[in-house]
């Protein structure tokens, strides 16, 4: 198992790349030659990547390149899919996520996830946010109410739902629902938040709110976000990883990727010449 020590550098696939100025970023998640298979089909191919603590990492790439697969590997959501298995190393805080000792529910508690389509439970707003804490043993109503308020405030949702906490969450707008899902994920106090195209089902205004929310959460949480929207990646992330056909082509500080990509493929993709 890999042990994290001191300062980690961001690796891109070519070892000859010049080092980006990320010397003091600590890796939260580290992948080394990490592959994910659906039966025979290798959807993620020998990816080596560090996701640094407290930063926003964007994963971009054309459809079907394995972005979601990589993201879902981090909280082992792929376990639900029959025939899905992994090779190589994927570690959270230096602990192998696919190791024999790992407690999957404890892992998922540390790694929250926000899905492409808002997916609140058909319960009240309150019960949605309180779901995680309740699962993890919080019983006292006052404590729960406190958690709900704090999470909703963090998700910039509180003002809109404070008077309708006991209405069904499915009555909220799409953007509100997505922020509710973020609040729900935050309520279990994860260290890491995975977001798989969190704004692709939303209108520009709702998207804007989610983006500023991500900006606010930066520093407190490590965030990994998959997006098809290049501007979004440029706006919200510190670090961008570009994937193509299951392989990691390039990962670097976001400004670098968008101004001075090292790979021709990356340049072609971000300038929209294919995809």
């Amino acid at each position: 198992m890999a042990v994290m020590t001191g300062n980690i550098t961001i690796q891109s696939c070519k070892p000859t790349d010049p080092q980006p100025s990320t010397a003091d970023w600590k890796a939260h998640v580290r992948a080394e030659d990490f592959s994910v298979f659906y039966h025979r089909n290798e959807a993620v191919k020998k990816v080596t990547l560090d996701i640094p603590v407290g930063q926003v990492t964007a994963i971009i790439g054309p459809s079907g390149c394995g972005k979601s697969t990589l993201l879902r590997a981090i909280n082992r959501m792929n376990d639900l899919i029959p025939g899905c298995h992994t090779t190589g190393l994927l570690a959270l805080d230096g602990v192998d996520i696919y190791g024999p000792q790992i407690d999957v529910t404890a892992l998922r508690r540390k790694v929250g996830m926000v899905f492409q389509k808002p997916n609140p439970f058909p319960k009240t707003v309150f019960d949605n946010v309180a779901y995680g804490p309740r699962i993890h043993g919080v019983r006292r109503r006052a404590h729960l109410a406190e958690i709900v308020e704090r999470s909703c405030r963090q998700a910039a949702l509180w003002e809109e739902v404070k008077d309708r906490l006991h209405e069904n969450a499915l009555g909220l707008s799409g953007g509100q629902q997505q922020r509710l899902c973020i609040a729900r994920a935050l309520a279990v106090e994860p260290e890491l938040l995975l977001m798989d195209e969190p704004t692709s089902a939303l209108d520009p205004i709702a998207t804007d709110r989610i983006e500023s929310l991500i900006a606010e959460l930066r520093g407190r949480y490590t965030i990994a976000i998959v997006t098809h929207n290049m501007q979004q990646a440029a706006r919200v992330s510190n670090l961008t990883a570009f994937m193509y056909m299951g392989e990691l082509v390039e990962a670097a500080v976001t400004d670098r990727i968008f101004t001075n990509p090292q790979q021709r493929l990356t340049q072609e993709y971000i300038t929209g010449r294919f995809g």
Partner: protein
């Protein structure tokens, strides 16, 4: 394809669909109309003074003084009949010739009168059925005809079956002192029986005399309720757990799962009488859950019968729950079991519930499985818990025995129809409850 021919096919298909819908609706109306119409006859009818007296004597309903007054008035009206009979009997006693001529007819007339008005003054028959006259005006009309006409059969034409011939008794008894009876009786029958529109809602809550001639069908309703209750209690948890296993735990293609599925499908196709025999052989003779027929054995058998129905509907309902709910729950660190209990089952509830209520209707209406395992015609009244090891009445069974084994079926047709009506009503009620519940829960889920 040509546009014209496509249109033609389109149109004929529409026609066919409309036709089949009309056919189904028609069949439903044709089936339900007599059931409802005649079934209501058990509750709404013109009840005679005898009905009110039965209600008072057997069940303690009604005001004693009122009924006593009515009975007195009726007896006053009937007295003339009994005086005529007594006089004529005296005549017969005095004359051998008259006796030879009229004795037999006289007995018939007296028997008819007993059925119509109850026992003669001074008589106290043993059977309940013979202690009272006709309680319903419609039945009384029929009985009146039996008194007014002699029924004989004409066999003179050997090529045909015997023809029924009705001869008026007035002619038969012409010239005797009994002759006025046959004009007085129809003219004053209303005073003698005092019919009055009656709403006998106690039909549903009264117990019955052993042969159902008087009273209601409460024991049958209660028995059906108990059987259904226990059946659901046995079948639903099992069914839901099986459905959860099949959807959430079983790996598709696993041999055992394939086997289980085949078993469920086969079970669904087994004729219900086979379940009845199986219940007798297994639950009563092998496991000895009870001495003989019992609610326990019957409801276990019924539970087996409806199990595939419950499993299938629950399975479908659970499968219909969006995958995203499960993902969301798991991603928050919930285990699989908690995800099922807290998210999947609540979301599947409307569908599961619908399946449960439909199987309830099925369990309530099945006859064959309880013939050997639970139902009897004469049972003690009992409680939900204490009656578990006792045999019971049940609506479908009673409907069946009343029309196959009852001595005087014609007399209690209205009870039979009342039972059928109640059974249909119960099922309809269950279904509407299901629809309401389903609507309420889905509205809550949808927000």
């Amino acid at each position: 394809m040509q546009l014209a021919s496509r249109k033609l096919i389109d149109r004929s298909f529409t026609g066919l669909s409309v036709f089949s819908i009309v056919l189904v609706a028609g069949a439903l109306v044709i089936i339900l109309t007599p059931i409802v119409g005649r079934g209501m006859g058990a509750v709404f009818f013109r009840g005679t003074v005898e009905h009110r007296q039965v209600q008072l004597d057997l069940f303690g309903h009604g005001r004693g003084e009122d009924i006593a007054a009515e009975v007195a008035a009726a007896e006053e009206a009937r007295r003339q009949v009994y005086v005529l009979i007594a006089e004529f009997e005296q005549e017969l006693a005095d004359s051998i010739r008259a006796r030879r001529q009229y004795a037999e007819a006289m007995e018939e007339v007296k028997a008819g009168l007993r059925e119509l008005l109850g026992p003669f003054p001074g008589e106290t028959p043993v059977l309940y059925r013979e202690r009272y006259g006709q309680t319903r005006w419609d039945r009384a009309q029929i009985k009146l005809q039996r008194v007014l006409y002699a029924e004989t059969y004409d066999y003179s034409d050997p090529t045909q079956m015997g023809q029924k011939v009705l001869t008026p008794r007035v002619e038969e008894f012409a010239g005797t002192s009994l002759e006025p009876l046959f004009t007085i009786l129809p003219a004053r029958l209303e005073e003698m029986l005092r019919p009055r529109p009656t709403f006998y809602w106690r039909f549903f809550t009264n117990t019955a005399t052993a042969d159902y001639s008087f009273g209601g069908i409460w024991p049958d309703i209660l028995g059906t309720f108990y059987l259904t209750f226990w059946t659901i209690l046995f079948a639903v948890p099992m069914g839901i757990i099986s459905a959860i296993y099949l959807v959430e735990y079983a790996r598709e293609g696993n041999r055992i799962v394939v086997l289980v599925r085949t078993c469920i499908n086969t079970l669904a196709g087994v004729p219900s009488i086979v379940f009845g025999l199986f219940g007798l052989a297994f639950f009563i003779n092998t496991l000895r859950v009870s001495e003989g027929r019992s609610v326990l054995a019957g409801s276990l058998t019924l539970a087996l019968l409806i199990l595939p129905l419950v499993i299938r509907s629950a399975e479908e309902a659970i499968r219909a729950v969006p995958h995203t709910y499960k993902e969301a729950s798991l991603s928050l660190g919930a285990g699989q079991w908690r995800t099922i209990v807290r998210v999947i089952l609540p979301a599947a509830l409307p569908g599961v519930l619908t399946g449960v209520v439909i199987s309830m209707g099925r369990a309530a209406g099945e006859t064959a499985p309880i013939i050997f395992t639970a139902a009897v015609s004469v049972a003690r009244p009992m409680g939900l818990w204490s009656g578990l090891s006792e045999p019971t009445h049940a609506l479908p069974w009673s409907v069946y025995t009343l029309c196959t084994e009852h001595k005087t079926v014609d007399e209690i047709r209205h009870v039979q129809y009342g039972m059928v009506f109640t059974l249909v009503l119960m099922v309809l009620l269950l279904n509407s409850v299901a629809i309401l519940l389903r609507a309420r829960i889905s509205r809550k889920l949808r927000g």
